[in-house]
């Protein structure tokens, strides 16, 4: 058992072991588990191969017996949202996986692609193009010519105006969102009852029989994931199928995913896989590809569920710079301590002053 110092960083204002913020090498041990605990697990969701089938959503609801809801999270109600093929709308108490559908189009001027053996365009491009390349325009053209995504890019024909030289480029992004199982999980930190806890797998789970419905965790989550059921009062979110993990099974969503867009496994292994995938895509000219939640220096100390995105996070409805609320605790405590000291000082001077009188 790791000894937990009574001198909390929150009180000392110092956080040398990154208990409130920043990278943590072993979040599970930090939570008090024996060193022989299982490895931290997670999800790597590669949106570049997502086909938007929503099998993850259905498998999740089936396994966790969640109720039907509409795109506003209203229970037992259905209705068309009008947001492309997304009628789930958001993550919530009743939807623990949410596939976003983002339709994009823009008019572009495109050169014709070089045509050759496909191997040449995919594998034989030589070295991955250097990051921060100088030839921005060329690589953009290259990207569109070889892109795995910009399907329309090859056409210079605008069927509406019949003008050549420019075309609408259509992209339909799909991405399955889920609880991030943060390294520094704000929901867990603010939970007064211990209903939220860190499991031996390094994931974050709510215990329904302990939650008292205070709702503190809801505004604490920087992603807006955890949510309260109005009729019930308690909060719900993805458990990464804790009950399946303890039986040696994969989470339901990852099991159902037909294209391996959702990959489950040991987090360090997933991170290595994601880095390799990103390098591959970038070498193929998909300049817009990026990892989200992979960086341990981000506002939540890196996520247990992270993503490969093909555009800015905001495009998918994800916060660009999520920050765990506890990051500011030391500063807040410092401010509070200063205030307290000042108040003590004022009180003392008042008392002392009266004595003088």
């Amino acid at each position: 058992m790791t000894s937990v110092s009574s001198a909390s960083p929150a009180f000392t204002g110092k956080d040398p072991q990154n208990r409130l913020f920043g990278p943590l090498p072993d979040v599970t041990e930090e939570a008090g588990y024996e060193p022989d605990h299982p490895k931290r697990v997670g999800f790597f969701t590669d949106t570049s191969v997502c086909i938007g089938c929503k099998a993850c959503e259905v498998a999740c609801k089936e396994w966790n017996t969640l109720p039907m809801d509409d795109s506003h999270g209203t229970r037992d109600v259905i209705g068309l949202s009008g947001m492309s093929y997304d009628n789930t709308g958001q993550l919530g108490a009743n939807s623990w996986r949410h596939v976003a559908f983002v339709e994009q189009s823009r008019v572009v001027d495109l050169p014709m692609p070089a045509v050759g053996l496909p191997g040449a365009t995919r594998q034989d491009t030589g070295e991955p193009s250097p990051a921060g390349h100088a030839h921005q325009d060329d690589s953009l053209a290259e990207a569109q010519a070889h892109s795995v995504l910009n399907a329309e890019a090859l056409s210079e024909f605008d069927p509406q105006t019949a003008q050549t030289g420019s075309d609408k480029q259509i992209r339909w992004l799909m991405s399955s969102d889920v609880c991030k199982h943060c390294t520094h999980a704000a929901c867990l930190d603010v939970c007064p009852t211990g209903a939220l806890f860190r499991t031996e797998y390094g994931t974050v789970v709510v215990q329904g029989d302990i939650c008292n419905g205070c709702g503190y965790c809801v505004p604490a989550c920087p992603y807006g994931v955890i949510d309260q059921r109005k009729d019930d009062g308690r909060v719900f979110k993805c458990t990464m199928c804790y009950d399946r993990l303890t039986d040696g099974l994969m989470p339901a969503c990852a099991t159902a995913c037909p294209t391996q867009s959702i990959q489950f496994g040991d987090l360090d292994e997933l991170q290595a896989r994601a880095d390799a995938r990103l390098a591959t895509l970038q070498s193929q000219g998909v300049e817009t590809a990026r990892l989200y939640g992979r960086d341990e220096d981000d506002g939540v100390g890196g996520a247990g569920a992270f993503f490969l995105l093909l555009d800015e996070p905001e495009v998918y409805g994800l916060p660009p710079d999520p920050v765990v609320t506890t990051r500011d605790l030391p500063a807040m405590w410092r401010a509070a301590a200063t205030a307290a000291a000042m108040m003590v000082g004022v009180a003392l001077s008042a008392v002392l002053g009266s004595r003088k009188r």
Partner: protein, 914 residues
């Protein structure tokens, strides 16, 4: 599946989905594979990860397009023009695989002098009879090598059968469908010119036929810019040949057209020219609509087929077993053994009662005398010719074209049995049909007695699925079905048992077929469930020693063997349920031969002899699959060779050889009478030996290629409840295409009723382009009414740039996407997209054209009640169409010949104002 059957000899997908991972280029056309086959799509994604090019050719930008390298928007109904363009490109630029084409196809065969092409007759082939709208196919035949065929036992009888096959009633029974597992028999091998120079060689005819399918013509007809066309052409041709292979994937986006079979034929020609057939990463992947559709044609639910694609005997040709087999008797290839397959089937069904003396009970089989396909039967119901109907796993009032016609049909029965997992519209039409609101149906006057029986789902019963790649996979029962729900096997077994008990004392000869059936399956459990394995074993068949057979080559025509479906023979080899094998992929070779069992004989990749060159060596190391092992004296490879295992590549059939022995060592298409892939089909298709672009029956434009507008042999049922929109009509100016969404299952019985699926696509919507929305004042998320000559439906509008208008033939064509899942019952309800589609069909397979038809769209909700009738009549009148008014119940007195309503007789039509 005559498209594949006439081209290669078998109607099933030629490859398997896992093999798509070996492709260098995958063209998905007429299929939305990511949405409708998401699990199999993983192999496309795998190919892409390995560097393959993925091309999606589709009117809509779908979830498949989203992950493809290239999406090519095509006008719905123009695929033959596009594929014809590719064929022309390949021939014109000498990009075909020469050695392959000369050795393995009928390119060098000579066609007889009387043949005239569409080039000569402006869109028609020789032999067309405009009155009957049929072709006499005699002039399409090969010029025979010698005459008559030396192998024929009884050439006079064969000729007689041949003549019978041209009889109109016989043609309506679609013998071409028998090409599901064997090409049509031809009487003699053709003369050949291996230089391919003779003007009457198939190769030269092909060249001439497709010469007008230029890139410019493709742009004009399909709306595909020449540059984009060239990109596709370059990607496909640079990925075909010795070292590389391209696969084609299609689904119901191709089959549901008046020229559906010919769409598939066009792809077959292209893939054959490119040498992609019978090779890893190549082939034509026919994706089936849903679970076990392949199984339901192998062991058919079709009116004109017996198990294993044996034809249903018909009243005109087949008076005896000898008549039945005469046409195939003695022809080259495995169809030559048809008598063995048929006798073994009769023995499986009638056991000891079937003897050589009584023609093995051949006369117990009913004879057909015309078209009894689904749509014809519905029309016959409306006309009062059909009394009872079983609906099993089908919700036709939603899932089939022309919902109003379907409902009129069911409302004119005496009894109807519906077996389903959920209460569906086809069982509740008598109270909630759209026509009740309009007054065209009145509940009190519907005499149909409906029996609704709850069915067990696939996890609640044991048995096999035969999926899209001919693979039989056994599934075990996971849970007991709830309440009174029972399996279909239980239902039919006990129905048969009860009928037999009732008739057991009958002396009427007509009851003998039922009483003599082998109907003795062991049962188990409280509900006396028959054993699925016993049925599978009967399908497999047994030899004289009572042991399960291991191959259809063991079947005999003397009554000593049985087999309920000859192509499935081997699924119970060694008394083991081979379909239940579950050896993980990582523990076996790339073809995973020990996972399930595929027909025929567990071959996963069909015609795989063609993966080796004529000498038996692989075409290349990279595409090595099956090869001749000289030392061992047999064919070897990573799959079961689709060839006689010990037939040498240099084998030449001796004079007078019959059956399989008449095929040479270089004839990989072993189910074809000449062992070759057919670029030109001298026989087997009703609408021509070569695919030709015709416009859909309802089209916004004129045929840009020929004077003939639409398929001249298409089938129509013209009646007030099935009016066809005129083409190029300003009243119905837009094209619509129907489709499915991942979130729902076909007619919705298995998805609209489930909360987790209903919530994902909760309402009926249509997809339109921003340009069309602007033109018609449609609002995103608002209501629209879509109108065709059949009916009008209302749906929510999704305005999306994924739909795009196209320039075709000088005009802008707008296309509207209509998913067809909705109906009046379940959690998610709405109007049914199939109320818009009409019944006009492909002449080969009677499949309706629901992928391209015309309509109008306007903002707002549709009129209700009698106002809807008025609204529809107004539309028809403005379009110059005949009236669609019907009397209550839908039955207008019909002229039995023309199918037209007789004026001035029978009950009055329901009028708009009544």
């Amino acid at each position: 599946m005559p498209g594949l059957g006439t081209s290669f000899g078998r109607g099933g997908a030629t490859n398997y989905q896992q093999d798509l991972a070996n492709s260098d280029c995958i063209v998905i056309e007429g299929s939305n594979m990511a949405e409708c086959h998401p699990v199999g799509f993983q192999w496309v994604m795998e190919a892409k990860a390995r560097g393959a090019k993925i091309i999606h050719i589709d009117p809509r930008f779908t979830r498949t397009s989203a992950v493809a390298d290239l999406h090519v928007p095509i006008r719905a109904g123009a695929d033959i023009a596009f594929l014809g363009g590719l064929i022309n490109h390949v021939l014109d630029n000498d990009l075909y695989f020469k050695e392959y084409v000369v050795a393995y196809t009928n390119a060098s065969a000579l066609v007889n002098e009387e043949f005239q092409d569409t080039e000569d007759l402006d869109g028609l082939f020789s032999g067309y009879d405009p009155d009957k709208q049929h072709y006499d196919q005699k002039s399409w035949q090969y010029e025979p090598e010698e005459e008559p065929h030396s192998g024929h036992d009884d050439s006079a009888k064969a000729r007689e059968q041949e003549e019978g096959s041209q009889h109109e009633d016989v043609k309506r029974t679609d013998q071409a469908q028998a090409a599901g597992s064997g090409g049509p028999p031809i009487a003699a091998k053709p003369k050949r010119d291996e230089t391919l120079q003779h003007p009457r060689t198939v190769f030269q005819i092909l060249k001439r036929h497709y010469s007008r399918y230029t890139p410019e013509m493709v742009a004009e007809v399909c709306g595909i810019e020449p540059q984009v066309f060239r990109t596709v052409a370059d990607w496909v041709t640079s990925n075909s040949g010795r070292d590389r292979t391209t696969a084609w994937v299609y689904s119901v986006g191709w089959t549901q057209h008046t020229v559906g079979a010919q769409y598939i034929r066009t792809a077959s020609i292209l893939q054959t020219l490119l040498g992609n057939m019978g090779r890893p990463g190549g082939g034509i992947m026919a994706l089936r609509g849903h679970a076990s559709i392949q199984g339901s044609t192998d062991i058919p639910t079709l009116f004109n087929l017996l198990p294993g694609y044996l034809q249903m005997p018909n009243a005109i040709q087949h008076h005896s077993l000898d008549d039945f087999v005469a046409e195939s008797q003695g022809v080259a290839g495995f169809w030559g053994n048809m008598r063995s397959y048929m006798v073994s089937l009769l023995k499986a069904w009638w056991g000891d009662a079937a003897t050589a003396e009584n023609d093995f009970c051949f006369d117990y089989l009913p004879r057909i005398n015309g078209d009894h396909s689904s749509y014809r039967s519905i029309a016959d119901m409306i006309e009062g010719k059909v009394k009872g109907y079983f609906l099993v796993g089908e919700n036709p009032v939603i899932g089939h074209a022309n919902g109003r016609m379907q409902r009129f049909g069911l409302a004119n029965l005496e009894w109807l049995v519906v077996r389903d997992l959920q209460m569906i519209e086809s069982a509740s039409f008598w109270k909630d049909a759209a026509e009740i609101e309009t007054g065209e149906l009145v509940t009190d006057q519907i005499a149909t007695e409906v029996f609704f029986l709850p069915a067990a789902s696939h996890v609640e019963k044991e048995g096999t699925f035969t999926q899209t790649q001919r693979l039989l996979q056994w599934r075990h029962k996971a849970v007991e079905p709830p309440g009174d729900a029972r399996s279909d096997l239980w239902f039919y077994f006990h129905l048969g048992r009860i009928l037999r008990e009732r008739l057991k004392d009958s002396t009427d000869p007509r009851d003998r077929p039922l009483l003599d059936l082998t109907w003795d399956y062991p049962t188990h459990g409280e509900t006396a469930d028959p054993s699925g394995e016993a049925v599978l074993r009967e399908i497999n068949g047994v030899g004289p020693d009572g042991r399960a057979l291991s191959s259809y080559m063991e079947l005999k025509d003397d009554g000593s063997t049985t087999s309920g479906c000859w192509i499935y023979c081997g699924v119970f080899a060694d008394e083991v349920n081979q379909a239940a094998r579950r050896k993980p992929g990582r523990e076996q070779g790339p073809a995973a031969l020990e996972w399930g069992w595929a027909w025929p004989l567990n071959r996963r990749l069909l015609y795989n002899r063609a993966s080796a060159d004529p000498d038996g060596k692989p075409w290349s190391e990279r595409k090595k699959y099956v090869w001749w092992d000289e030392e061992a004296g047999k064919w070897d490879g990573i799959d079961v060779p689709d060839f006689e295992p010990k037939k040498r590549p240099d084998y030449v059939p001796p004079e007078g050889a019959k059956g399989p022995a008449a095929l040479a060592g270089t004839d990989p298409f072993v189910m074809q009478s000449d062992g070759k892939a057919w670029l030109f089909a001298p026989k087997g298709l009703q609408d021509g030996p070569l695919p030709t672009h015709y416009e859909p029956a309802e089209s916004p434009v004129k045929n840009g290629l020929y004077g003939v507008q639409a398929n001249p042999t298409r089938e129509q049922i013209d009646a007030p409840w099935n009016r066809t929109n005129p083409s190029s009509s300003s009243v119905f100016p837009f094209t619509f295409t129907t489709y499915r969404l991942t979130e729902h299952h076909t007619a919705g019985g298995m998805s609209r009723t489930l909360p987790y699926l209903a919530e994902l696509q909760p309402e009926f919507f249509v997809e339109v382009s921003p340009e069309l929305a602007e033109e018609r004042g449609l609002e995103h998320g608002g209501w629209a009414t879509i109108v065709s000559g059949r009916s009008a439906v209302e749906a929510r509008v999704l305005v999306t740039e994924r739909m795009r208008p196209m320039h075709v033939g000088g005009t802008v064509v707008h296309q509207i996407g209509v998913p067809y899942h909705w109906g009046s019952t379940g959690i998610s309800t709405g109007d049914s997209g199939n109320d818009l589609t009409g019944v006009v069909m492909d002449p080969n397979v009677h499949i309706q054209e629901s992928k391209a038809a015309t309509c109008d769209i306007r903002p707002g909700r549709r009129p209700r009640g009698k106002a809807l009738i008025e609204f529809m009549e107004d539309y028809r009148k403005r379009a110059g169409m005949e009236s669609g008014l019907v009397p209550v119940g839908g039955r207008a007195p019909m002229d039995s010949v023309s199918g037209e309503a007789k004026p001035g007789r029978g009950p009055a039509a329901v009028q708009p104002g009544e």
